[in-house]
């Protein structure tokens, strides 16, 4: 296909070809991969959250809204709630608060959504299935989180409302604090793999268990090579620290102080309604899934593991088995972490602001630093001591 298109374009002037080829073979597939994942993840995520919340907290509605046409009655797994929500959101007034900051108010949801979208750009879904695989993969992923903070800050400021501003300030304080243990915890797999490239981190998790210099060779399908078990037990702690920090960075309950319905109305979302409000939520679910994906790549072997190890040779139609089952394994692991986030939200009560801060600075940062030291020592032992 690539050659055919190149031939087709060869009649054009050279400068036009120079622009068209990178766009055709680089930009457009990348955009398709990213948008083709983000939108379904957001929609399914919102439906899943409503339904799981309905089941856990016994909320009548989200888990059973279906159709009822005379004799035909079906709950349709609560899918009716999503349709009803969508119709309601479309019908809402598109309100822009007075105060002269309308442009910032309109841009804020876009900036937040762009931050969530940027996470997908370097997320490897399967073997060779990614929009980009930069050498600085994980470093890049940690840096684009800043966009979301800025978007929330823009929203809080331009809403011209004290609840919004308080929510935005809480968001900034919380996310900036939790970025520190998150980055330190993410360093553990980087140290073990000796690379920040996402595909190298995954490839490093296929060749068996490394226990403090003792190498136990095991096939990929046993999943013993996952970073989760490396430098035992410190990477399990690092994984838990990263997951807690991801919850806080995504402002999910029990860390949902920036929204905090019982104190701040809806925090930085107070003045938003209709589709702009739902863009914030689409971004939130996309970012939740992407964060789960990052945790999967860093500690749970990415696309490797039992499914990929056993079935890599079995082709599914035209798709090579390695790609199909690898991607399936990645999606399954990521979705499990994603569903766990939803369950945590509906199970745990909200923390107080001082508790959020002391958890971060007094417990998570020292724990993450200890894990980083242990991982560094384990990597040094595995490579045969200093100087190598």
């Amino acid at each position: 296909m690539r050659e055919g298109l190149t031939n087709l374009l060869s009649g054009l002037p050279q400068w036009l070809q120079d622009i068209a080829l990178p766009v055709l073979f680089g930009l457009i597939p990348a955009v398709i991969i990213v948008l083709g994942v983000v939108t379904p993840v957001g929609l399914v995520g919102i439906w899943g959250e409503r339904r799981i919340a309905g089941k856990i907290q016994d909320r009548v509605g989200p888990d059973r809204v279906g159709i009822s046409l005379g004799p035909i009655k079906s709950r349709l797994f609560g899918l009716g709630q999503s349709v009803a929500d969508g119709v309601k959101l479309l019908g809402k007034e598109d309100f822009i608060p007075p105060g002269g900051l309308g442009l910032m108010f309109l841009c804020a949801p876009l900036v937040v959504f762009a931050g969530a979208l940027a996470l997908f750009a370097a997320l490897p879904f399967g073997p060779a299935l990614w929009a980009a695989d930069p050498n600085l993969g994980i470093f890049y992923l940690l840096s684009v989180g800043a966009l979301e903070v800025l978007g929330v800050l823009m929203a809080g400021w331009s809403s011209n409302n004290k609840w919004s501003l308080l929510g935005a300030m809480r968001e900034v304080a919380q996310v900036i604090s939790y970025e520190i243990p998150m980055a330190i915890a993410a360093l553990c797999p980087v140290l073990l793999a000796g690379s920040m490239k996402m595909s190298s981190i995954v490839a490093d998790q296929t060749n068996g268990l490394d226990l403090w210099g003792l190498h136990i060779a095991a096939p990929e399908a046993t999943a013993l090579g996952w970073n989760l078990f490396a430098a035992f037990p410190f990477n399990i702690i690092a994984f838990v620290v990263f997951y807690i920090c991801a919850l806080a960075a995504l402002k999910r309950a029990p860390f949902d102080l920036p929204e905090c319905e019982s104190e701040l109305v809806a925090g930085f979302l107070t003045e938003y309604s209709g589709m702009r409000w739902s863009l914030f939520f689409l971004g939130e679910y996309a970012a939740m899934w992407a964060m789960s994906g990052i945790a999967t790549v860093l500690w749970l072997g990415g696309w490797t593991g039992p499914l990929h190890g056993f079935l890599a040779g079995v082709d599914v139609g035209p798709i090579p088995g390695g790609v199909f089952f690898g991607t399936l394994a990645f999606v399954v692991k990521t979705t499990i972490l994603f569903l766990l986030m939803i369950q945590i939200r509906w199970t745990l009560p909200r923390l107080r602001l001082d508790q959020v801060m002391s958890l971060c600075y007094k417990y998570l940062i020292p724990a993450a630093m200890l894990c980083m030291l242990a991982s560094g020592a384990a990597a040094l032992l595995a490579s045969g001591g200093a100087g190598s």
Partner: protein, 165 residues
């Protein structure tokens, strides 16, 4: 060609938003226009092959310094309006200062001999080279920077705990 187009896009974004940051009437608008400036500069770094510098630019300037600036703006909302709104009444000294800086920069650009090195064969990462340099040739500056940051951390903790202890 593609790199040139990207360069011009990033250059226009950087300069346009820098102009907006300098000319905005409200200090909040300046702060958020600065965000586009930082991203534009990061894009230019990426085009020039310094991927590490580009991501660090986003991490440090957008993720750290800009958020601190915004936080400062939010906390100082109560200052009188005459400080919040930039007024173009001192344009003459500003123009003179800007003109002199431009002349000095152009002079420096002309006087410097720019070494021309062959482009690296493949787009390889700069991280390993930077890490190696930090641990060998530039170990002392690196350690000085860490000590400075440690002192700042200790000082910030001391100030946050209050003056009596």
């Amino acid at each position: 060609m593609g790199a040139q187009i990207a360069f011009w896009i990033f250059a226009i974004v950087t300069l346009g938003s820098a102009l907006a940051a300098a000319c905005a009437r409200k200090i909040v608008h300046s702060a958020f226009a600065l965000m586009a400036t930082f991203f534009g500069v990061a894009g230019i770094y990426a085009i020039l092959g310094s991927d590490f510098l580009a991501v660090t630019q986003v991490l440090v300037y957008v993720g750290g310094i800009l958020i601190l600036i915004c936080f400062g703006v939010l906390l100082t909302d109560r200052v009188p309006d005459e400080y919040k709104v930039a007024q173009p009444r001192r344009w003459l000294p500003a123009a003179v200062a800007a003109g002199l800086s431009a002349v000095a920069l152009l002079g420096a650009l002309q006087a410097t001999k720019w070494p021309v090195a062959a482009a690296p064969a493949a787009a390889e990462s700069t991280v390993e080279e930077i890490g190696r340099s930090f641990m060998t040739s530039y170990l002392i500056p690196f350690e000085f920077a860490s000590i400075l940051l440690l002192v700042v951390l200790v000082g910030a903790a001391r100030m946050a705990r209050g003056g009596t202890r």
